[in-house]
Symmetry: C2
Subunit: 441 residues, 2 copies
């Protein structure tokens, strides 16, 4: 049917990703994450998403069920040239429309092959089959065109599975076609990030606050995501204007600021390394890191930020005792007396790299990432982090849970957070801490 | 119904993840990835997986549809104490069973709160509601028990949403309960990893090979996954014994070895950093890395491997020209003449870090990760990688696609691969290469 003006705007969608290969254990369906975000931007919320194997009866049933629930169904994948690419056939069958070869599409596919000096295999003709009445969406990155089908007051959109074809097609064609159907409402988000409190403490503090928001005028919904030593609050609101949304989200953010204090390090989705970078730039400071158990992860995170060459000059990964003493000037006697995993050594590393790189702020990290090397007194997960400036030094001993990868993540996060708090002059958060020592000099 | 011996073994499953929060754009449903892998281990294949919002009518419909298709449906999440935790109610309704409070479960929940010196909120009683006839699965990490319901020849399993509750529950209870229902067949996998060929070249080389396997006796299915400068082939086979599966997978692997040659760096799922670590250990060699544009990522990847302290002593991240010349001894004249992003500087960095750390193998990496800093001659993505030993040096200029994060990933991968190939004495792969220079001395 036509997209006449009296229709109610599109509000809900379902996404169906087609392909047996998407059900292999490590495989994440990144397409649906991308499409969900883009649909949200248009004010359309995703009600369900399904990954289904290349099996006609299942695909037919899943499509029928989705069309019953929502006016917009987006299918991804299964548009290739082989026999197990079933999406075109399933859609044609479920919508009771014959498949018709589209001569223009055949031409385009043939030209794509000609560019590579190849003949179009006969198989690829299948990609030019189009359910009667469908609009063809050009694929500038591959052979399978997308399809846009108005049906019975609803809308079925077929997109190719490869993300490098699907994403540009959505942005170039699908968004503009959907936009006039979406009304004035948009979904706006704001991401707040917290470090220095255990997840359960954050939740205890903030859940009484955000629990009220959904029942207030202009309801705001909150989702809690967690990463090592980080809690994220994703706030979302449906609103008819940028201003309305921004005002409402800011009101919610201000309530969170009250209960979270200095543990709230980002209110605009910035990562911890971005926040640290910004603080360094504001102070015209440079930073240097001496890492042992984190093995370069802190350095890598700092340099993930564009422009980090403005404040990172030199970092060192000193795994061995020799490297710690020769490079960083950690006294051999200190290493012998306290062991490489000790607060004294962490402080000497921070001090050493700060002087060596001639920067304002030095970080030193030493610990036991495991799986071996732990002891009763210093079990796997024990990490000492020190921060040094011209006027002060501080060191903390942490005990982090999890495997080697998680312990590295935890330690890199807490080290960056110590740098942040030093620059913001706020006390260090309490999570995972065993001991603290502050040295002013 | 009972699990009598004449039933056919469980072959197919569907997974339903329940929760509006799972539909927030960045959120990945990791539970279903975990369960898929565990079910595969038992010989059960996942036919579809769905993420559905907290909305009763949708959840009911999705559950009904899944039960029609497969004998095993696993639901994750929606077992919490609040009103939007709907899974118990939906299952009771769809299976037409009344919800009954389980006194033992109430006791357990009460005890959990008592341990934290808290009273059980009245809300949490909801978590003790059990569809009549369901078996309760103990939750050792939280308050919501799992549920196991035999129904009409099929099986519905409810698991709590938090991964730290779901995973141990599956491993401790669900697996053992499923195992006798699964027959003798298991799904076996083998992961092969390739570096040094573009994805399309790998596919052109291997697809004629793996295309035959599904129609042969003991069919093997292949899934291709890609990461920056890495192609993974996931082979899977359903077989009744470890030996049968291993023999069949090895026959397939040997065919891949023929067409892939030295580009195939891993045949057992090991990562490139694990392979490089193993090669170093075999040679009793140590490695040192001087990184500029990769910012510590190579070092972090090398030290992700347990035991890497056996071959990593000292790595340096030298972002600034000063750091390159002062630390690594890169001649200032070289930096002035060729610029920091040049093959000469990459070689001098590899040579410098090798000597400084007194190791066998040095890597030097310099380039433009962007988004700024590119030029016509050296656009963003240009990276020089050098490798140096006591007897030889080699350097390559690459041009990598993508944003800053991807360029770092690409460069770290190709640097590790250059180290691997040097140790395996095989020529360097051709993907992304602009120029090559080999210097024997």
């Amino acid at each position: 049917m036509s997209s006449s003006a009296h229709e109610s705007p599109l509000r809900w969608a379902e996404i169906i990703a087609v392909g047996t290969e998407l059900l292999v254990p490590p495989r994440v369906d990144t397409n649906s994450l991308y499409i969900t975000e883009r649909l949200n931007d248009l004010g359309i919320e995703v009600r369900a998403k399904t990954v289904v194997a290349d099996r006609r009866e299942d695909l037919d049933a899943v499509l029928r069920a989705a069309m019953k629930r929502t006016a917009l169904v987006v299918l991804c994948g299964g548009l290739g040239p082989t026999d197990d690419d079933l999406t075109r056939d399933a859609v044609a069958q479920v919508l009771s429309r014959p498949l018709v070869e589209d001569a223009a599409v055949v031409d385009q596919i043939r030209q794509r092959f000609a560019l590579r000096r190849a003949r179009m295999p006969e198989n690829n003709r299948r990609q030019a089959l189009v359910p009667a009445g469908a609009a063809v969406l050009a694929n500038t990155h591959g052979t399978a065109p997308g399809l846009w089908i108005e049906h019975d007051g609803g809308l079925v959109v077929l997109l190719p599975g490869p993300p490098n074809e699907l994403m540009p097609m959505f942005d170039a064609v699908v968004r503009d076609r959907l936009s006039p159907r979406c009304g004035d409402m948009r979904v706006y988000r704001r991401v707040m990030r917290i470090c220095g409190q255990a997840e359960s403490d954050v939740d205890e503090a903030v859940s009484p606050v955000y629990a009220r928001w959904p029942s207030e005028a202009l309801p705001v919904f909150t989702t809690v995501l967690t990463a090592p030593a980080q809690v994220e609050l994703h706030l979302s609101v449906r609103a008819a204007s940028d201003t309305l949304a921004a005002t409402r989200l800011e009101a919610c953010a201000s309530q969170l600021r009250v209960v979270l204090g200095a543990d709230l390090f980002s209110q605009d989705g910035r990562t911890l390394e971005e926040v640290v970078g910004q603080l360094l730039l504001e102070r015209k400071w440079r930073i240097a890191v001496a890492e042992s158990c984190t093995g370069g992860l802190i350095s890598s995170r700092l340099t993930d930020v564009p422009g980090s060459s403005g404040y990172v000059a030199l970092n060192a990964v000193c795994y061995s005792n020799d490297a710690k003493s020769e490079w960083l000037g950690v006294p051999a006697a200190l290493l012998a007396e306290h062991g490489a995993v000790s607060e004294s050594v962490a402080v000497a590393m921070a001090r050493g790299i700060r002087q060596l790189a001639a920067v304002d702020l030095g970080l030193g990290v030493t610990g036991i990432a495991g799986p071996t090397g732990g002891s009763d007194r210093k079990p796997v997960g024990t990490v000492m982090i020190a921060v040094a400036t011209a006027t002060s030094e501080a060191v903390r001993t942490y005990r982090f849970p999890g495997d080697r990868a998680r312990i590295k993540q935890f330690a890199s996060q807490m080290a960056l957070d110590m740098a942040r708090r030093l620059m913001q002059d706020t006390p260090i958060g309490g999570a995972f801490v065993v001991t603290t020592r502050q040295v002013s000099r």
